[in-house]
C-alpha cells in the first residue's frame, strides 16, 4: 500500500445521496480478477452515452474543468450497496486519492482504508460549502489534505466563511487507520504482529468450548 502523502488537488462534487458501488463500477465492467483495468468502468452508466464508450459531456467527471480531479466530494451514504472492492480500485486507478462525504457505506469505507484511499466523514454543511466554492473555479479552487495534521484546507484565495468552516473540521480516523494510511502498512502484518500469542490462546479457549469450529 502506498503511503498517503499531503495532497493539493482538484475536487469534483457529486452531491447526490446514496451513490452505490454498482454506480461507481457496474458489475459488467469487472472483467478480470486483478485490480487493474477498472478505471474505464468507473461510473460507466453515467460517464458514457448509452451503448458505447463515447463520453457523456453532461457528466461532471467529463467536464474539462474537472480534468485531473483527485478528490471526490460525495453525498450521504456514499458507496452503499454491494461489497465489491473494485469500486475503490477503480476510483484509485482513475486518479482519486480521497473521498469526502457526510457518510459512507460501511464496507466501502473499510475497503478504502485497506487500499489507501482516504475516506473523510464531514458534516453535510461542510461538504456542501466546499462544493460551492470548488464549483466556482475547479482548476484553481483546490483542496489541501494533510493527513498527518488531520486537516483539510482550501488553497489560497478562499472566502473567510469557508476557511472558518474547514478550520473547525478534523479528519476523523482511529489511530490504526491513520497509521496504516500514513505509512502504507499491510493490515495482515500489523494484526499478526500485534496479536502474537494472544490469538493462539484465545483460539485454544474458544475451540475448546466450540469444538465443531476446529480445523478438522
Amino acid at each position: 500500500m502506498t503511503p498517503f502523502e499531503p495532497l493539493t488537488g482538484i475536487a469534483v462534487p457529486m452531491p447526490q445521496p446514496n451513490i452505490d458501488t454498482d454506480a461507481i463500477i457496474p458489475s459488467r465492467a469487472i472483467r478480470g480478477i486483478g485490480r487493474e483495468g477498472l478505471a474505464e468502468g468507473l461510473f460507466a452508466n453515467w460517464r458514457y452515452l448509452p451503448g458505447g464508450l463515447e463520453l457523456n459531456p453532461g457528466f461532471v467527471l467529463n467536464r474539462p474543468e474537472y480534468a485531473g480531479a483527485q478528490i471526490l466530494l460525495g453525498g450521504a451514504n456514499f458507496g452503499c450497496g454491494s461489497s465489491r472492492e473494485q469500486a475503490v480500485w477503480a476510483l484509485q486507478e482513475f486518479g482519486f486519492r480521497a473521498v469526502i462525504a457526510p457518510g459512507f457505506g460501511d464496507i466501502f469505507r473499510r475497503n478504502c482504508i485497506n487500499n489507501g484511499l482516504l475516506p473523510v466523514v464531514m458534516p453535510a454543511e461542510a461538504v456542501t460549502a466546499m462544493a460551492r466554492w470548488v464549483e466556482e473555479k475547479p482548476q484553481w479552487h483546490k483542496l489541501r489534505i494533510n493527513l498527518q495534521a488531520g486537516s483539510i484546507l482550501p488553497s489560497e484565495g478562499c472566502p473567510a466563511w469557508l476557511g472558518e468552516t474547514l478550520h473547525k473540521t478534523r479528519i476523523e480516523l482511529d489511530d490504526d487507520e491513520r497509521e496504516m494510511l500514513l505509512r502504507g502498512i499491510d493490515p495482515i502484518d500489523l494484526t499478526l504482529r500485534r496479536l502474537g500469542d494472544d490469538l493462539d490462546e484465545f483460539e485454544k479457549r474458544h475451540l475448546g468450548k466450540y469444538w465443531y469450529l476446529r480445523n478438522s
Binding site: 454498482d22 450497496g81 465489491r84
Partner: protein
C-alpha cells in the same frame, strides 16, 4: 448485568482490543463465492500466505454462473466470467477449503446455502465478501459482509478488526395480514427511517410480527438490513430457530443454543417501533430501496421527498409521473430469485398465486431457486410444474438477474418487478426499471401483466 444478543456475540469473539472503538473479532466461519472469494484466495496464494483454518471456510459458485438449464463447466453469460469460475475452483483446490461446485447438490446462493447446510449456526461469527451476509443473523449469529482485502485478512488470521457498532432494536408489532410478508416489513422500515437509518448499528429485530415470521421470512428481513445501512442484523434464538437448526447440526449441539438471546431488560443504544398491523404489500417506485410505497398508494411528488433532486432523477429513470398509481403499471419482466426471496417458502408463496394461472402474454417470468437443494425440494413438491405451466422459466440456482454483469438482462426501458434487494439504476441491466416487492406481489403482477395486489388472488 443484562446484555443484548449482540453484546454476547461480541464478548464471545473478542480476541483483543484494537484501540479506539475497534476490537479484533474471531471469525468462526467464512463463505466465499467466485466473484470476490476467488480474488481473495488468489491474493492469499500470491503472497505465499496460508489459510489458517481451511476446514472452516466454504465456497461455491453463484454470482455470475449461467442459470439457464443445461449449464456446466465454465458457462457464463458474463464477459470474462470464466476467469472467475476457474480461479475459484483453483483457489479452493489449492487451499483445501470446502467447495460446492456446480455438480454438487449443495451449490447455490451463498447465504441460502450457509443456512440450509447448517454452516451458519446460532452464536457464531461468519463473514463473506458479499454485502447480504447479514441474512444469516436470523439464526442469532453475527454475520456481516466484507471486502476482498478483509476476506484475505480473515482467511489468513481468522480475525478481523471491527469498529464496534451501536445496538439498535427494531420492533415490528402487530399481526400481518394475508399476502403480507417479511419483504414488505423490510421495505416499510427502510421507507420509514431512510436508506441510512441503520447507519453504524447492529440491528436486532423483535416484536410480535417478527416472532410470527417463519425462518425464511426472518432471513429475508435480516437480508435487507444492508439496504438500511446497518452493519448487520440479528434475531434472537427461539423455538423456530431451534427447529430449523435441529436437523442441520450434530445432535450433540441440541439444546446448546438457547442462550443466544438478549437478556430481559438489556439496553439498546437506539430503538424504533413500527406498528405493522395494517401494512399493505410494498413496492418500490424509485432507484433506492427507501423509495417505496404501499401498493394502494400513489407515486409521490419529489417535493414530498427528502431529496428533491434525487427523487426527480429517480422518477425520470423509472418513467413515472408524480401522483400516478403504482398499481396497474404495466410490466415486462418478473423475477423470483436472489438471496432475499428464493427459499422454498418463497417459491411456495409465489406458487400459491400461480397455481392454475398463466402469466400475461408479453411478460417474461424467471424463477431461480436459491440453491440446488431448494430446487430439488421444489421439484419434489411439484412447484416446478406450477411455475412452468404458468409460463415462468425454471432455472438452475445462482444470483442470476438480481444484478446485471454484462450477460443476461432485460431490454433498456423494460419494467421489471423483482423479489431481489436492489432497485439501483442499471442494477438489472442498462435502463432497466426495477420495482422491488415480495414473491406474492411479483407472482400476482406477472399474472396481471401489471403491478398488482396479491391479496386479490388470496381471497
Amino acid at each position: 448485568m443484562s446484555r443484548t444478543l449482540f453484546e454476547k456475540l461480541w464478548d464471545a469473539h473478542q480476541v483483543a482490543r484494537a484501540g479506539g472503538n475497534a476490537d479484533y473479532i474471531y471469525i468462526d466461519r467464512m463463505f466465499l463465492h467466485e466473484r470476490m472469494g476467488s480474488v481473495a484466495l488468489r491474493k492469499v496464494l500470491d503472497r505465499g500466505r496460508r489459510v489458517r483454518a481451511p476446514k472452516q471456510v466454504y465456497g461455491t459458485i453463484d454470482h455470475i454462473v449461467d442459470t439457464r438449464p443445461g449449464r456446466g463447466g465454465e458457462r457464463t453469460q458474463v464477459p470474462g466470467g470464466e476467469v472467475f469460475i476457474r480461479a475459484m475452483r483453483k483457489g479452493a483446490e489449492r487451499t483445501g477449503i470446502h467447495f460446492y461446485d456446480l455438480d454438487d447438490r449443495r451449490q447455490g446462493i451463498v447465504h441460502v446455502v450457509a443456512a440450509e447446510q447448517g454452516i451458519a449456526l446460532p452464536g457464531m461469527t461468519l463473514v463473506c465478501p458479499d454485502s447480504h451476509t447479514s441474512t444469516l443473523g436470523a439464526l442469532g449469529a453475527l454475520c456481516w459482509g466484507i471486502g476482498i482485502s478483509e476476506a484475505e485478512h480473515a482467511l489468513v488470521t481468522r480475525t478481523l478488526k471491527v469498529a464496534r457498532p451501536q445496538t439498535m432494536q427494531v420492533r415490528f408489532e402487530g399481526e400481518l395480514g394475508r399476502g403480507i410478508g417479511a419483504k414488505d416489513l423490510a421495505l416499510h422500515l427502510i421507507r420509514s427511517l431512510g436508506a441510512d437509518g441503520g447507519r453504524g448499528c447492529a440491528l436486532e429485530y423483535a416484536g410480535s410480527a417478527v416472532q410470527g415470521l417463519d425462518m425464511s421470512g426472518r432471513f429475508t428481513l435480516c437480508n435487507m438490513a444492508v439496504e438500511f445501512a446497518a452493519f448487520s442484523a440479528l434475531i434472537g434464538f427461539d423455538d423456530k430457530t431451534g427447529d430449523y437448526v435441529k436437523n442441520r447440526t450434530p445432535s450433540a449441539l441440541d439444546g446448546t443454543f438457547s442462550d443466544w438471546v438478549s437478556d430481559p431488560g438489556a439496553a439498546f443504544d437506539r430503538s424504533a417501533e413500527l406498528d405493522v398491523s395494517g401494512l399493505a404489500p410494498m413496492v418500490t417506485w424509485g432507484t433506492n430501496p427507501e423509495q417505496g410505497v404501499a401498493i394502494d398508494e400513489a407515486v409521490p411528488s419529489p417535493l414530498d421527498c427528502p431529496d428533491i433532486e434525487a427523487a426527480g432523477g429517480a422518477l425520470h429513470y423509472m418513467g413515472l409521473t408524480p401522483g400516478e398509481r403504482i398499481q396497474g403499471k404495466q410490466i415486462d419482466y418478473a423475477f423470483i430469485g436472489s438471496c432475499t426471496n428464493a427459499r422454498i417458502e418463497d417459491l411456495r408463496a409465489a406458487a400459491e398465486i400461480l397455481r392454475g394461472r398463466r402469466i400475461r402474454e408479453g411478460v417474461q417470468g424467471v424463477c431461480v431457486p436459491g440453491s440446488s437443494f431448494t430446487k430439488r425440494q421444489a421439484e419434489l413438491e411439484g412447484l416446478d410444474r406450477i411455475f412452468i405451466d404458468a409460463g415462468f422459466e425454471w432455472r438452475e440456482s445462482g444470483c442470476s438477474m438480481c444484478f446485471y454483469a454484462g450477460g443476461e438482462s432485460a431490454p433498456p426501458g423494460a419494467r421489471s418487478i423483482s423479489t431481489s434487494n436492489r432497485n439501483f439504476e442499471g442494477r438489472q441491466g442498462p435502463g432497466v426499471r426495477t420495482h422491488l416487492a415480495g414473491p406474492q406481489t411479483v407472482a400476482a403482477s406477472a399474472v396481471r401483466g401489471r403491478i398488482a395486489d396479491p391479496r386479490e388472488f388470496l381471497k
